[in-house]
């Protein structure tokens, strides 16, 4: 905001009556409060929630979209697809669609979008998170048909393509754009840096006409302010308010956010190299005691690092019981066999990893001390925490119990299993050839076989190896104003389809 404009604005305070607080706005316009503002609005960065929640499936659309509830991929800009060879997929495109700039949606635009995403000049998260390593290419077969080829067989290519947004051929390559041009039900209207982003309904949209005709996105870091904005009618919907601010059951709705919290154990370093010690840690933490106190009572006890929405989630695993006597017994056994169970173990947390995470690690440390562990608690700032999280691990590091939170909203366990548990995974403490082979094998399968093999991967990790301490599948709270009729789902962790917002009956009267 301009300096003199700001001064003039404040100088006119006396002339403005409080009546201006009436928040008069169009009945079909909404204001949405995000926890953080966007730094760019580039279509190739939509896996970042700060961008995806504004433009994904609103301004720019994908060929397919994920149905988290049924673990399926649904048609969007593509009408059908088939795997024509192990490394080849053919997608048929929906005809008669135009981008907001008037250019046609066709195979050329799909090829352009993929090439732009693959361009190393941009740090496209869609590429670095989902497409790196598969050398994916696209060619035009005809205007309505695209063929994708990959280096190796990728049975979940449609799932991956649910992350690739398609933008107009006029979107420049090699530079980020702040003006996304897509095919979606809303067109990009404006972005006032630091203040708000505006979208307008695209009346020429190929699908059903949405109810909401205008959306303004603002951002407030402080959860209580975001919640207050909805309460006072200044806004209609606030993402991710803190549990302590979710005080109104009528407006505050809980939804799984695809984050799973757990303690990773440094399984190679004594005394954590003894499975009895690792089991004792699992038995000593009273997970249920946290629910409804420092962790939301709507969070679920975790048995593995992926949540139920990911294909490969093993529903047969049982959460650890709280049994401090058994924990003490296991520790005593290990001690009798010469394991140095009195050695100091670092418990590493990170401030604000999730709401009340500091309180959580403090209480967990105390529970472990109660059964005889020698715990030294440390909270690390983000980059220091990342340094410890990622390989190469320091060769002389102390044994550690490391708090992590993993977000897998891709709909498939592949994005967790390799990264977290394969010998070559960047955050893996394990190096078990049999497990490695199983992870690689599961990644090449599809359908039920894929589910079965990933189920076995997680069973092995949690029952045989006891590699870490699964804690909770986390939830977010969204405050939805009384004008709207909307129930959030896990998809809202990374996107919010404005077309799915409806006005409450009262609001339309």
């Amino acid at each position: 905001m301009n300096f003199w404009k700001s001064i003039a604005l404040v100088a006119s305070t006396a002339l403005i009556a409080p009546a201006s607080l009436a928040h008069a706005q169009d009945a079909t316009a909404v204001t949405i409060v995000l926890p953080a503002g966007p730094d760019r609005l580039d279509p190739c960065e939509t896996p970042r929630s700060v961008i995806g929640r504004i433009i994904k499936q609103n301004v720019v659309e994908t060929l397919v979209e994920l149905d988290y509830a049924n673990q399926k991929t649904l048609p969007r800009l593509a009408t059908s697809w088939e795997q024509t060879a192990p490394t080849e997929w053919v997608f048929k495109l929906r005809p008669g669609i135009a981008f907001h700039d008037g250019t046609p949606f066709d195979a050329k635009s799909v090829v352009h979008s993929l090439e732009r995403t693959n361009d190393p000049a941009l740090t496209c998260i869609t590429r670095t998170k989902y497409l790196d390593g598969i050398a994916i290419k696209a060619v035009e077969v005809d205007p309505q048909t695209v063929k994708f080829t990959t280096k190796t067989a990728v049975p979940i290519l449609p799932t991956l393509l649910a992350q690739l947004t398609i933008s107009s051929v006029n979107t420049p390559k090699g530079e980020y754009t702040a003006k996304p041009i897509g095919t979606g039900p809303y067109t990009f209207d404006h972005w006032t840096q630091g203040e708000n982003v505006g979208l307008l309904r695209n009346d020429a949209y190929w699908g059903d006409k949405p109810v909401i005709d205008k959306a303004t996105y603002v951002w407030r870091t402080e959860s209580s302010v975001a919640a207050a904005m909805v309460e006072t009618g200044e806004a209609d919907l606030a993402f991710s308010i803190a549990p302590q601010d979710a005080t109104n059951p009528e407006t505050d709705k809980v939804y799984p956010n695809s984050d799973s919290a757990l303690f990773r154990l440094s399984v190679d370093i004594p005394p954590l190299n003894d499975v009895r010690v690792r089991k004792a840690i699992n038995l000593a933490i009273d997970r249920k005691a946290f629910l409804g106190s420092v962790i939301s009572d709507k969070a679920e006890l975790a048995m593995q690092q992926v949540g139920p929405s990911a294909l490969g989630f093993n529903p047969n695993l049982k959460p650890w019981a709280y049994d401090p006597e058994q924990a003490q017994k296991l520790l005593a056994e290990a001690k009798a066999d010469g394991v140095d169970v009195d050695r100091e173990i670092r418990m590493i947390g990170r401030p604000a990893m999730f709401a009340n995470s500091n309180e959580f690690v403090e209480a967990s440390a105390e529970m472990l001390r109660a059964v005889g562990f020698n715990i030294k608690l440390e909270n690390l700032e983000m980059t220091q925490w990342l340094k410890m999280a990622n390989k190469p691990f320091s060769p002389d590091r102390a044994p550690n119990i490391f708090l992590t939170m993993h977000d897998n909203n891709s709909g498939d366990a592949a994005f967790t299993a390799f990264f977290k548990y394969h010998s070559n995974g960047r955050q893996s403490e394990l190096h078990d050839p049999a497990l490695d082979a199983l992870i690689v094998s599961a990644g090449t399968k599809s359908g039920d076989e894929r589910v079965k093999e990933y189920n076995e991967v997680f069973r092995k990790i949690y029952e045989d190896v006891v590699a870490d301490v699964p804690l909770f599948h986390m939830v977010n709270y969204m405050r939805v104003g009384k004008r709207l009729d909307f129930t959030p789902t896990i998809a809202n962790a990374v996107e919010l389809q404005l077309a799915r917002l409806k006005l409450a009956d009262k609001a339309t009267d």
Binding site: N2, S6, T13, R40, R220, T232, F419, Q427
Partner: protein, 305 residues
């Protein structure tokens, strides 16, 4: 006086250069931005490419040389977050913080000089006690807490002010009020003490004996002499407004430089950190010059030395 200001300017330039060098190297000791800008499971090639693209693979001294060369050409580099020139990002945010400070400080001075002077006029009286208690509370209450309570009381309960944002003049009342609290609390105490000393001086007794009115005694005779320490503390408080602005901008969603600076530190956006520190340091430097001039205007001993 010209040579005095020249000398002070020269000192400030040296401080500025030292600050720039310090910020450059300290920022780079805090870890690699690649870890923050790429997904945690990004490949080693992607991380290498990122570092290559932004020059982080080069030796530190080479990066510093490039930074200095850019600085000589008024180029502070590209923001990692915004993919725009860092100077543009900072200069876009700066006017909001400047406006906050420009509105807050005169109000702080007005309120604290009047309150402190009146409190000093009758030490131990009801007004003095009330002013002392309130100023202590103001100086010691955390801005963050006051901001949240302010929103709950004035926006949610009474519905007389908006919760946050920058749309109308009303949006500025809570942020400015919160930002005023601490410096006003401190300055009321300083004005009170300074005025008590001035009011017990012999020239005040002479003025009283000559029948000068109490308003003229306080606001004309005593105030001018009591102002010197007030100016010193006020300049510190003005510079400290950037600190308060971090809280205020965060809570109220103001797109200012305080929040930008904190976000850039957390996200290792080196170019923006450097540009923001430089612009803020320049602002503090200008405040210091203004204070020096104010000193000279108030105290002829400085003007003629």
């Amino acid at each position: 006086m010209g040579s005095f200001i020249f000398k002070r300017s020269l000192q400030s330039v040296f401080s500025l250069v030292a600050l720039i060098i310090l910020i450059f190297f300290l920022a780079r000791m805090t870890g690699s931005p690649a870890d923050l800008y790429l997904p945690q499971d990004a490949s080693a090639e992607a991380r290498f490419q990122f570092n290559e693209q932004y020059g982080f693979n080069d030796p530190l001294i080479e990066q510093f040389g490039r930074f200095l060369w850019g600085l000589l050409h008024f180029d502070m580099g590209q923001s990692l977050q915004f993919s725009r020139p860092a100077v543009d990002v900072v200069l876009q945010a700066f006017p909001t913080t400047l406006a906050l400070a420009a509105i807050t400080m005169p109000l702080v001075l007005l309120v604290s000089i009047i309150t402190g002077s009146l409190a000093a006029y009758r030490p131990g009286g009801i007004f003095d006690r009330l002013a002392s208690i309130l100023s202590l509370v103001g100086a010691s209450t955390p801005n963050f807490w006051v901001a949240i309570v302010g929103v709950l009381v004035f926006a949610v309960t009474l519905r007389v002010l908006p919760t946050s944002g920058t749309g109308t003049a009303l949006h500025w009342i809570l942020p400015v009020g919160v930002l005023m609290l601490r410096p006003t609390g401190v300055l009321v105490q300083v004005v009170r003490t300074s005025m008590m000393t001035a009011l017990s001086s012999t020239y005040i007794k002479t003025a009283r004996a000559k029948g000068v009115g109490s308003r003229a005694i306080v606001f004309v005779h005593a105030l001018r002499n009591g102002l010197l320490p007030v100016i010193t503390v006020a300049s510190d408080q003005a510079a400290g407004i950037v600190n308060g602005a971090v809280i205020v901008e965060t809570v109220f969603g103001f797109p200012g430089i305080g929040k930008l600076m904190i976000d850039s530190v957390l996200l290792r956006d080196f170019a923006v950190i450097q540009a923001a520190v430089l612009v803020t340091a320049l602002a503090v430097f200008v405040i210091n010059i203004i204070v020096d001039i104010a000193y000279a205007l108030v105290d002829p001993r400085i003007r003629y030395s």
